[in-house]
Each structure stands twice: as structure tokens, then as C-alpha cells.
């Protein structure tokens, strides 16, 4: 019981920390530019984070089970390229969307198959599919840029949801709906609990009768579908399908998930934390954008955030290890003295 309470307290502390970080980032944004709090900026902020936020949800579940999916951005890129390719080859948009979602599911299924059936580490498999899926995007589009999508669909990417006062984009609307669903699944259902068990101890979960492999397989398929959806939204937002859509977004997705307090070793994390982390990241990105920060160097900020979010939870082990070394040295000098 005390273990449980300790855990809850630990989690709550992390999320409280994120709340403070959010306030700090918003204050930073206000101080840098008078534009920060305007509805236009808020809407752009929505647009810039929507797809990442959506992809972070299945990633959270996957990391909680102790696996990782580095192929998310490539799946997004492949979906975008495929949507463009099918559209210029005369497919209607709804049919093309359906096909893209099916291909996304297949992409996830390939990951899941290699990880659960062949028994390979998810890191190696998804580095491979990161290359493969991006390679397929490059192969089907080549140097082409497709930007003739009908306005009816591209409007989805650039207009606000009705009745939100122009604040919320479609992508973030999708994200909120999905976040609630994922939150309920992860934190309220037995299925969600089983994910934590798997992440904490794979073997124990198996002995407890949890179908570890089947569950992980399904999670990767889910991730593929959700990334395909993100790819469709991405394409409509930019009204463009090119081969390098979303390159490097896997870093941002992994960063927001780990910043949200999900343990990279599995077994710990919450959707609330991830949602807060997404808000922090989006506000920071927007504030930096308003200060004319070189956008292509955003990786420095994102990468540093990623390092911080894994180093901070480890800080206590860090200190303990340092103390151990010191104590061992003292012991050694103490035992060495009588000998000399």
C-alpha cells in the first residue's frame, strides 16, 4: 500500500512540475512577444503540434510496455506520400484515405510481427522500418511535389473547429478525443493495467496469464493506424505531399512522451503527464518561433529536453552512485591503513 502511495506521489510530483514548467513557458512567451497570447498564435501553435500530439498517444502505450517505435515519422511520411500518389492516380480522396489507413495498419503489423513473432528488439526493428518506410515514401514520389488536393479537404488542415472561437484546429480536436479514449483505456481498464505489468516485468506478466505478445502486436498495429491518420492530417495542413514530410518527428514524439514522465524502461507513466508535456513543448516552440529562433536548429532544444527528461528521474540514482563510490573509497583507505 505504501508502495502504491509512494508511486502515486512520485507521479503527481512529476505532473506538478510540468504544470510549473507550463506556467514558466507561457510567461516566457508573453515576455518575448505581445503576439503570444493572441488567438491567431494559439491556432498556429495548435497546427504545429497536432500531428505530434496524436502520434504521442500510441507511443505512450508502447513505451509503457517497455518497447519503442522509432518508425512513427516515417509511417507518417509514407502515408502522406501514398495519399498524394493515389490522388494523382485518380483515386477519390475518401478511398485513398481508407487505403492509407490500411497501409498504416500493415506497416504497424510488420513492426509487430518482427518484434513479437520473430522475437527481435523493437529498437532494431523500428530503426529498420524507419529507413524502409521513408525509403518507400521516397521511392513512390521521387522528386515530385503533389499539391493539387481539393480545397474541401485541405481546409480541414488550416481552419479551426467550429464553436471553438478559432482556437482549436481539427488535428488538436482529434487529439483531445483520442487522448480521452487512450487515457480511459490506459488508466481505467484491465487492459491498461496489463500494459504497466508488461513494462514492469514481461516474464511475470506472461506467468500471470497476460497475452504479452498479442497485446504488443496490437499496440504496434494501432500505432501504425494512428500515424497514418497523422500523415493524412499533415498532408492536408500543408496541402502538399512530398517525400520528406515529417522527417525527424520521431524525436519530438519520443521527447514529449518521456517529458511527460513515462519511463523509458517501461512500467510507468500517465496520459495526463504526456498531455501536459505536449502543452509545454508546444508553447515553448511557439515562443521560440516568435523570437526568430532558427527553426531548423529546433533539434537542439528538443534534444536537450529529451536528455533532461531522462536524466532528471535518474538524478537520484546518480547521486546514490556517487555516494557509493565515495564510501567504497573511504572503506578501502580504512582497510588499507592497518595493513600499512
Amino acid at each position: 500500500m505504501s508502495e502504491l502511495r509512494r508511486r502515486i506521489q512520485g507521479a503527481v510530483r512529476w505532473e506538478v512540475g510540468l504544470l510549473f514548467a507550463l506556467v514558466a513557458v507561457v510567461l516566457f512567451g508573453i515576455s518575448t512577444s505581445s503576439q503570444f497570447l493572441t488567438s491567431t498564435n494559439f491556432f498556429y501553435l495548435n497546427l504545429s503540434i497536432g500531428e505530434v500530439a496524436i502520434m504521442a498517444l500510441p507511443m505512450t502505450l508502447i513505451i509503457v510496455t517497455g518497447e519503442i517505435d522509432l518508425s512513427v515519422a516515417s509511417t507518417l511520411g509514407m502515408s502522406s506520400a501514398l495519399l498524394g500518389y493515389l490522388y494523382v492516380h485518380g483515386w477519390s480522396i475518401p478511398l485513398a484515405i481508407l487505403a492509407v489507413l490500411v497501409v498504416g495498419a500493415a506497416a504497424g503489423a510488420l513492426n509487430g510481427f518482427l518484434i513479437t513473432k520473430v522475437g527481435l528488439p523493437s529498437l532494431a526493428v523500428t530503426i529498420g522500418t524507419l529507413t524502409l518506410y521513408r525509403g518507400i515514401a521516397v521511392a513512390i514520389l521521387g522528386p515530385q511535389t503533389i499539391s493539387t488536393f481539393p480545397a474541401r479537404y485541405t481546409d480541414i488542415g488550416v481552419t479551426a473547429l467550429p464553436h471553438t472561437g478559432g482556437y482549436v484546429s481539427y488535428s488538436v480536436g482529434f487529439f483531445f478525443v483520442l487522448a480521452i479514449l487512450f487515457g480511459i483505456v490506459l488508466h481505467v481498464t484491465p487492459f491498461g493495467r496489463s500494459l504497466f505489468v508488461m513494462g514492469a516485468n514481461d516474464e511475470a506478466a506472461r506467468y500471470a496469464g497476460i497475452r504479452v505478445k498479442r497485446t504488443k502486436f496490437r499496440l504496434f498495429v494501432l500505432s501504425g493506424i494512428v500515424c497514418a491518420l497523422a500523415g493524412i492530417l499533415y498532408t492536408f495542413r500543408l496541402s502538399t505531399a512530398v517525400q520528406d514530410n515529417g522527417v525527424g518527428l520521431e524525436l519530438t514524439v519520443v521527447t514529449v512522451v518521456l517529458l511527460g514522465g513515462v519511463s523509458i524502461f517501461g512500467g510507468r507513466g500517465s496520459i495526463v503527464g504526456v498531455v501536459l508535456a505536449i502543452a509545454v513543448f508546444a508553447c515553448l516552440q511557439s515562443a521560440l518561433f516568435l523570437t526568430d529562433f532558427e527553426q531548423r536548429a529546433m533539434g537542439v532544444v528538443t534534444g536537450s529536453l529529451l536528455l533532461l527528461s531522462v536524466l532528471i528521474p535518474n538524478a537520484s540514482t546518480f547521486v546514490r552512485r556517487g555516494r557509493e563510490v565515495l564510501r567504497r573509497r573511504q572503506l578501502r583507505s580504512a582497510t588499507a591503513e592497518p595493513a600499512s
Binding site: 518482427l114 522475437g119 529507413t131 524502409l132 521513408r134 536548429a297 529546433m298 532544444v301 536524466l311 535518474n314
Partner: protein, 349 residues
């Protein structure tokens, strides 16, 4: 799991000799297998398109392979310890720009100094990555993924919109990849020498063997008194330094360097290393295999180009090869352990 090429301390179980012979054989077969595939590929392509085996095309392939073979050497050291280094493409890019930029700012700077500068830049990056991985206790995947983007971001900030162009580089520097000895690029000979040194180190030095031990079973390695942290740190530092030198070679090879130089190289190098038989779980493989993997990958890409396949397929092919190689390894591993178990059972009876 333990499939090191040879067990460092002789195990006194009956049948150990037999097992060792089988394991040894599998590894020989792997390297011969790559060479066989390579020869087959060259033959088939040469029949279809004779200009593939032109002296100039072969020289091109060899020179392109040198950069990847060097990077594969560094990556092998890291992967052997059950880690991964995703930052090498960015390190290469940063080093390529900064070292080539030296020529513009310091007229008549000796080329050797530029190579040392590249080495130093890479070493700094590798040391930082190794420190965070070992002391921070964070999985190398996360650290090097972050480093990939941080170093690339620094590169973007340093380079800005500019670039180094070939005309600003001294001729002697640009000529390095073009020099040949009896038709073989000197660079390829030098890199082959470096790979041989690496192979000798891993085979015959205590610290080299310990890299295998760490990758086979980190906990057992620690209990056996192997300074695990120090070795892993060394592997990352070496990988960074090698990527730094590879950056200087990149500058000499291509002449034009902007802030995207070397992006995505880490994926090709990991593909080459894994195709070359280095287990992604760590603990087994050789640098010769990794270098052969790099050669095979370059040859395949070049052959497809000569055969008229669009280079837009390159990345997809590298990815597919990577997946095929790790799946194949897994299959071999399962077969092998089943076979060894059966042998041991027979001996016990």
C-alpha cells in the same frame, strides 16, 4: 545468447570444443557468405552491364565504401557492447564543415592538422555521448537520438545558410580520394589497414575481448570484474573520433558541404554493420564483417544504379536489407542454440 566467436576462458564442459568449432564455423560462413553474395552480385551485374566493372566505377565504389567502412568500425565497437550510436551522421556533418572551413580561415594549414581537428571534434562529441550514457545511466538509444538532433542543430547554427565549396579547398586535399596505387585507391588501402588493426585489437587484446563479454551478458561481465562503464565509454569515444575523421574524408570526397552533410548516414551504417553479421543484441560479430557489409551495401546500390534502378530506391533497399539481416541472424541463433543443446544432451548421456 552467448555466441562470441571464441570463448575467452576455456570452459571445462565436455563438448565445449565441438560447440566452439560449430560457432566458429558459423562465423566463417557468414563472412564467406557476404563475399559470395558480393561476387555473385558483381558477376550478374557485369554480365548485364559491362561498364559496372570498369576500373573507374570500381574505384568509385571503393572510395565511397571507405567512409562507410570507417563508420562501421566505430559502430561495431559500440554495437558489440549492446549499445547503439545514432549520432555519427551528425558528428560527420559537423566535423566535415568545421574542418573544411579551416582551409578558408587559415591559408596553407597542413592537411594533417585538419585531420587532427576532425578527430578532435568527433572525440568531443563521442566523449559527451559516452559520458551521458555511462554516468547518466540512460539507454544509449535515447542519448544518441538526442545527440543526433542536438549536434545537427549546432551544425545548422554554425553553418547558417552558407556552405563550403570545393574551390575553397586546396588541391592536395581534394586529390586525397583520387590517388591510386596500381589502380587501387590509396584511401581504400589505408582504411583496410585501419580495419585490420581494429580486427586485431578486438581479437587479441584483453580490453577488446571484454567488449564482447559486456555485450554477451552485461551483468556477468560486471561480476567478472570487467570495468564495464569504462569500456562502453571508450567505445563511444572511439566511434565519435572515427566519425570525426570520416567527416574530413567526406569533405575531401565531395568538396561541397552544407548543414545537411551526412544526414541519415547512421541508418546506412547500422544496416551495413548488421548485414556484416554484427549481432544487434551485442556480443558477437567482427569489424571485417562490418566492413564487408559496407562494401556489399555500396556495391548493391551502385549495381542497381548501373542497371537503371532509380537511386530513389536506395533508402528502401537499405532498410529492407537491415530487416532481412536481423531476421536471418535471429533464425541462425535459434537454430544454433537448438543444435548446441542437442549436442550437449548427447555428450551428457
Amino acid at each position: 545468447m552467448t555466441t562470441t566467436a571464441d570463448t575467452p576462458h576455456g570452459v571445462a564442459t565436455p563438448g565445449a570444443d565441438d560447440s566452439r568449432r560449430i560457432v566458429d564455423l558459423v562465423f566463417r560462413v557468414r563472412e564467406f557468405g557476404i563475399v559470395a553474395v558480393l561476387i555473385l552480385f558483381v558477376l550478374v551485374t557485369a554480365i548485364a552491364q559491362p561498364r559496372f566493372v570498369d576500373a573507374s566505377n570500381i574505384q568509385f565504389i571503393l572510395v565511397d565504401t571507405t567512409i562507410f567502412a570507417l563508420l562501421a568500425l566505430g559502430q561495431t565497437l559500440v554495437v558489440l557492447t549492446r549499445n547503439v550510436d545514432l549520432s555519427i551522421g551528425s558528428v560527420l556533418g559537423l566535423s566535415a564543415f568545421l574542418s573544411a572551413d579551416l582551409f578558408g580561415h587559415h591559408q596553407g594549414i597542413p592537411i594533417a592538422v585538419v585531420f587532427l581537428a576532425g578527430l578532435a571534434i568527433g572525440l568531443v562529441c563521442g566523449v559527451a555521448v559516452g559520458f551521458l550514457t555511462v554516468v547518466g545511466g540512460v539507454p544509449s538509444l535515447v542519448v544518441t537520438l538526442a545527440a543526433l538532433y542536438i549536434i545537427r542543430g549546432i551544425d545548422v547554427l554554425v553553418v547558417g545558410g552558407g556552405q563550403v565549396v570545393a574551390s575553397s579547398l586546396p588541391n592536395a586535399f581534394i586529390e586525397i580520394p583520387k590517388k591510386t596505387l596500381a589502380g587501387v585507391p590509396i584511401l581504400a588501402v589505408v582504411v583496410a589497414g585501419v580495419v585490420a588493426v581494429g580486427a586485431y585489437y578486438l581479437r587479441s587484446f584483453r580490453s577488446g575481448r571484454e567488449l564482447y563479454a559486456i555485450g554477451s551478458n552485461p551483468e556477468a561481465a560486471r561480476l567478472a570484474g570487467i570495468p564495464k562503464g569504462r569500456r562502453v565509454f571508450f567505445a563511444f569515444a572511439a566511434s565519435g573520433a572515427i566519425a570525426g575523421v570520416a567527416g574530413v574524408l567526406y569533405a575531401a570526397r565531395y568538396g561541397t558541404i552544407d548543414s545537411t552533410a551526412g544526414s541519415g548516414y547512421e541508418l546506412q551504417v547500422i544496416a551495413a554493420v548488421v548485414v556484416g553479421g554484427v549481432a544487434i543484441f551485442g556480443g558477437s560479430g567482427s569489424v571485417v564483417g562490418a566492413a564487408l557489409g559496407a562494401l556489399l551495401l555500396q556495391t548493391i546500390l551502385s549495381a542497381l544504379y548501373v542497371l537503371g534502378v532509380s537511386p530513389f530506391w536506395n533508402q528502401a533497399i537499405a532498410g529492407a536489407l537491415l530487416l532481412a539481416a536481423i531476421s536471418l541472424d535471429r533464425g541462425i541463433e535459434l537454430k544454433l542454440s537448438a543444435m548446441l543443446r542437442k549436442r550437449r544432451a548427447v555428450v551428457d548421456v
